[in-house]
Chain length 208, copies 7
C-alpha cells in the first residue's frame, strides 16, 4: 500500500477545479519531440458528462478508466439516464479497495480526480490507492500536490469563471512543474453533458 501511495506522490501534478458552471481538470504531459502528444494524455473522458485525470502508474489508470467507461455505458442502458458522479467514483474506489484485500493482488498505484456534472450538480472527487473517496472544490495530486493545494486555499473562489479557472490552473502547473521543460499543459472542461479538451489556442485565449 505504501508503495502504491508513493507511486502517486511521485506522479505528475494533476489538478481539478470546480468553477461556476463546470469542472476543470488539468495536468501536463511529456512533450518529447516526435511523440504524438495525445497518446500520453492523462485526462480520460469517461462519458459525456464526466472525466478523470490520473497520477501514478498510468497503465493502471488506463485499465481503471476503461472499467469506469464500461460501467457508465451499462448504467445508461439499464436506467436510461447518465450515471451520477459519486456512483462512478465508487466504481473506481471499490475496484481499488478490492485489490488491497487479497494477498495475491497488488494495490493499484494510481489516484484519480474524477470530475463531472449530474442532476445533483458539480462534483470533483479524489480516489486514492486504498479506495478512499474525497470530494473537493479544488484539489491537486501528484508531486506538486502540496504546493498546489496551498495555492488553492488562497486563490480558489466560489463561482469562478472558466477563464479564471484556466488561469489558476496555468499558474499552479507552471509553478509545480517548471523544472520539467519538455511538457505541455493539458486542460479538459466538463460542463453539463459536454466533455471537451481545450486546444492550445483556446488555452492561450483564456490566459489573456
Amino acid at each position: 500500500m505504501e508503495y502504491a501511495k508513493e507511486a502517486v506522490k511521485r506522479g505528475t501534478t494533476c489538478i481539478g477545479i470546480v468553477f461556476k458552471d463546470g469542472i476543470l481538470l488539468a495536468t501536463v504531459r511529456p512533450a518529447t519531440q516526435l511523440m504524438i502528444p495525445t497518446s500520453v494524455e492523462k485526462i480520460f473522458q469517461i462519458d459525456d458528462h464526466v472525466g478523470g485525470v490520473a497520477s501514478g502508474y498510468l497503465a493502471d489508470a488506463r485499465v481503471l478508466a476503461n472499467q469506469a467507461r464500461v460501467r457508465a455505458q451499462v448504467h445508461k442502458i439499464t436506467y436510461e439516464e447518465p450515471i451520477d458522479i459519486w456512483s462512478l467514483a465508487r466504481v473506481i474506489g471499490d475496484r481499488m479497495q478490492l485489490s488491497t484485500l487479497y494477498a495475491g493482488l497488488r494495490p493499484f498505484g494510481v489516484s484519480f480526480l474524477v470530475g463531472g456534472v449530474d442532476k445533483t450538480g458539480l462534483h470533483l472527487i479524489e480516489t486514492d490507492p486504498s479506495g478512499m473517496l474525497y470530494e473537493w472544490q479544488a484539489y491537486a495530486i501528484g508531486r506538486g500536490g502540496v504546493i498546489a493545494n496551498k495555492i488553492f486555499k488562497q486563490k480558489w473562489k466560489k463561482d469562478m469563471s472558466e477563464n479564471d479557472a484556466v488561469k489558476l490552473a496555468y499558474d499552479i502547473i507552471t509553478k509545480t512543474e517548471k523544472e520539467r521543460k519538455e511538457s505541455v499543459l493539458d486542460i479538459a472542461i466538463i460542463r453539463k453533458d459536454k466533455f471537451k479538451k481545450l486546444t492550445e489556442e483556446e488555452i492561450k485565449r483564456a490566459l489573456k
Copy 2:
C-alpha cells in the same frame, strides 16, 4: 489482526449514545478548506431505521456499509419487514470474521458503531476487526475512545433527551479531538423509521 486493531485505535473518535427515544451517532470529519464536507462523512445511513459510524480504514468501511445496505434491502424484500439491528450487525461481523480465517485475505481495518431502532427497541452495537459484537448504552471507538468512555460512565443517563445527548456528544468530541482544529462535528439521529443527519444549525440550536 493486531495491525487492523491498531488502525482502529488511531482512527477518528466515533461515539454512539442511546437516548430516550433514539440513537445518536457522532464523529468529526476533516474540514480541510475546499473539501466538500459531506464527502468524508463517516456516518453511513444503512436503512431508514439504522445507520453506522466507522473508525479506521474508511475504504473498508465504505465497502462493508454497502454490503450491509444490500442485505438490509434483501431482507426487506424477502420478509416484508425491516431487518433487525442485531441481524444487521451480524452481517458486518460475519464478513469481518471471515477475513481473519483465510491466509490470503487481510482483516478489515475498521470498527463500526451500528445504531438503530427495531421491534425490540433501541440498539447500539459495536463490531471490531475480529468480528466481535458488543451492545452498549453509550460507547466510543477510535483515538479518543479511552477518554470518551470515562466521560460516558459519569455523564450518561437513562432516558436522556435528544438535546442532552447532543450536548454530551459535543462535549466529548470537543475534548478528544480538540487538537485537530480543521474538523467539524457530524451527528446523526436515528428514531423509529427515521434516519436524519443534523445540520450545523440544528446542532447549534440543541447546544443552547
Copy 3:
C-alpha cells in the same frame, strides 16, 4: 494450533455441570458500565434442547454457534426430531478439525462446552480447537479451568439438585474470576426441550 489452544487457556472460565435432570452452563461476562449485558453473553442457545458456552476468540464462537444452529434446524426438518447432542457436537468438532488440515486456513481459537438433553439422556461435551470431543459430568475450560476442575472432583455429586448445581457454579466462578470485579455471572439451565437463562433474581433465590 498451539496459538489456538493458548487463546482458549486465556479465555474466560466456562463451566458445565450435569445435575439430576438437566445441564447447567455458566460463565461470566464483562459487566462494563453502559454495555448491554446480553450482548456479550457467551452462552449460546442452539436449539430448544441444547446450548453451548465458549471460551477463546468469541467471534469464532459466534460463527460456529450459528453453523450449529443451522444444522440443528436442518436436522429437525429432515428427520422430524431434534438432533442428538453428540451429532451436534460433531458438527462443531468436524468444522474445527477441517481448519487444521489446510495451510490456507487458521484453526478456530475457541473451545465449546455443549450441553443438552436427548433420547439418550443428559450430555455435556467439550470440543477443543483440534476438533477433539470429550464428554464430562462436570468440566471447566478457560483461565480458571485447572482450579475449577479440582473443585469439581471434590464437590460434584451424582443427581445433584438444580439449586446445588447453581451453588457449585457460583462458588467456582467466584473463586476463579474473583479478580475481575466488573463481571457478572451467567447461568443457563437446559432441561428436556427447554433452554432457559436464569435471571439475577433466580440465581439469588437458588443461592439461599
Copy 4:
C-alpha cells in the same frame, strides 16, 4: 511427515491380536474423574464386522473413521455384501497418502489398527501416516509399541482362545501404560458379523 509420525509415537499404546475366531483391539482411555469414559474411547466400530483403534491426533482419527463408515455403508448398498477388510483399510490409507502429496495440506497425524472378519478370514491391518498398510497377527502402535511388540513375539500363539488374547492384552497394556494411573483398559472383540466392546465385568471374568 516426520511430525505426523512423531505424533503417533507419542500416542497411547494400541494393540491388535488375531485369535482363534476373531480379532481383539485394545487400548487405554483416560479415566479422569467426571469424564464420561465412552466419550474418549479410541476404538471405533466401523461396521458390524470391522473396527479400528487409533493412536495420534484423535480428531484426525474421528474424521477418518467417519469416512470409513460412510464407505462401508456405500459398499454394502452397492454390492449387497459387507466391504472386505483390505478394501476398507485402503480407503483410510489412500486418504492419508493424498494428504502427503499436496503442499497445501498437512499429513494426518494418526495410525490405525483395523481389525475385522470377511470371507477371506481374519485380518488385522496397520495404516501409518504415509498411507502404508501392513497386515499382522498381533501388533502394537503408540508409545508402548516397541515393548509391546517384543512381548508379542514371545507370547502370541496361533489359535489362541479369546480369554488368552484378553489376558495377553491386559499384560501388555499394564506394562506399557503402568505409569498412567488414571486410565482404563478398553477392549473390543470382532467376530463374524459381530463387533462388541467388553464391559469391565467381562474383562475381569476373562482374566480369571
Copy 5:
C-alpha cells in the same frame, strides 16, 4: 517489473518511423549461418493493415502477437471492419498490465512498436512491460534506443518519402548494431490495407 524492463533494454534495437503515407518498422535479426532468416524475424504481421516489432523475450512477443492476431480477426468478423490501431495496441497493453497485477504471474518481458493505418490515419504506438501506451512519429526501443532516438530528433521529418525512411532506418540500425556483424536488416512497410516485408533487393534499391 524492473526485471522485465531490463529485458527490453538489452533486446535488439527496434525502430518505427511514420512517413508520408505509411509506417516503417525495422530491426535486425541474427543472420547466423544456416539459420533460416525468416524464422527469427521480430516483425509480426498482425492484420493486413497493422504489424508490430518487438524487443525483449521473443517467446513472450510471439504469444502476444498471436493474441493480437486473434483479436483482430474477431473484430473484423464482429464489426465487419478492420480493428483500429489504438484498440489493437490496447489489447496488447491490457494483457501486459494484467500480468503485473497478480502475484502468481510474471510481467511480460517485452516491448512492442505497433504500426498501422486505419480510418484515423497513421499510427506508431509503443507498449511497454507495464502496459503503458505511447504514440510516436518515430521511435526506437532496445539496446540502441537512446542513440537512435537522438538521431530521430535531428533527422526525422514530416512527410518523408518511403525511401528516405528506409535510408534513415538503415543509418540508425547500422550505427546502433554495428558491432553485431552477423545480423541482417529487416524492414516492413505498412500502408493502407497492405503489410509488406521488404526483400534485400528492395532495401538496396531504396538506399541508392
Copy 6:
C-alpha cells in the same frame, strides 16, 4: 526431485529379468515375526499379463499401481484387448512427470519395474520419479542396484530358462540384501496372460 530419487536409492533392491518365455520380478519383503507376509509384498499384479515391483515410498507405489489397474481395465473394456506394456508404463510415467511440474505437488518417491507380455513380446520397463521410461533385458533398482546390475552384465543370457532366471534372482538378492536377515524372497513370473507369484516351495524346487 533429488529427494524423491534418494528415496528410491535407499529402497529395497528390486530386480526384473527377461527370460525365454516370460518376465521375472523379484524383491525381498520384511519377514518380521507375526507380520502377514503378503501384506507387504512389493510386487503388484496389474492385469493378467502384467505386473510391477516398486522401490521407494510404498504408499506412493500402492496408489500408482491402483491407477494403473484402473487404466488397464478401462483399456480392456474400451478396446476389447489387453493394454500393451508400453502404454501401461506410460500411464505411470505420465502421472509421475505431472507431479514434478506443479509447485503445489511433491514428486512421487518411487521407481517401478513393470514387466509383462503383449502382442509385441516380452517387456521389462523401468519408470523413475521424473517419469522417464527405460526398457531392459534385466535390471535392478534400489539400494542393491549398482551391485546387481554388475552381476546382470556378467550372468544374464538371452533365452534363459525360468529356473535359471530364478537362480540368478536368488543369487543377486542374497548378495545385495544379505545383511537384512529378517527378509524373505518374493518372486513373480509373468507369462502370456498369466501372472503368478511363486510359493516358497516353488522357489526351492527351482533352485535345486
Copy 7:
C-alpha cells in the same frame, strides 16, 4: 529458466540437417548392456511427415511429444490435411512459454529439433525452454552443440544427398560424443509423408 536451459546444455548432443529432399535427425542413445535400445530413443515420430529429437529432461520431452501427436491428429481430422511444421512447432513452443508465465509451474527443461516436410517445403525448427522458435538448415543442441555448429558452418551444403547427410551426422556425433563409449547412433530420415528410423545396417551402408 536458467535451470531449464542448463538442463538442455548438459543433454545429449542432438542434430538436425536439411538435405536435398528430406530432413535428418540424429542423436545417440545410451547403449548400456541389457537395455533395450529403442526404449531410450530420443527421436520421436509425431506424424507421418514430421518428427522431433530432444535434449534435456526426457520425461518432459515425452510428454510434449505426446501433446504434439494429439494436436497433429486433431488437425488432420479437422482440416483433412496434415499439420504444417511451423504450426506444430508453435504447439510445443506455446506450451513451453506458458510454463514460464505462472509462478506455480516450472519451465520445461528440454529443447526440441522438430523436422518435417509440408506443402511449403522442408523445415527444421528449434524450440528452446523459453518457447522461442528458430528455423535452421542444420543445427545442433545439447552438450556438443558448440562444436557441432562450427562443423556445420564449414561442411553443410545446400542440396546434400541423404548419404552425405548421414556421413556428416556420423562425423559430428563421433566427435562430440566420443568419450561416451556405451552409446549408439540414432538417425531418422523424414521425407514427404514418410518418417523412417535407419537401422544399423542402413547407417553402415550409407557411410561406405
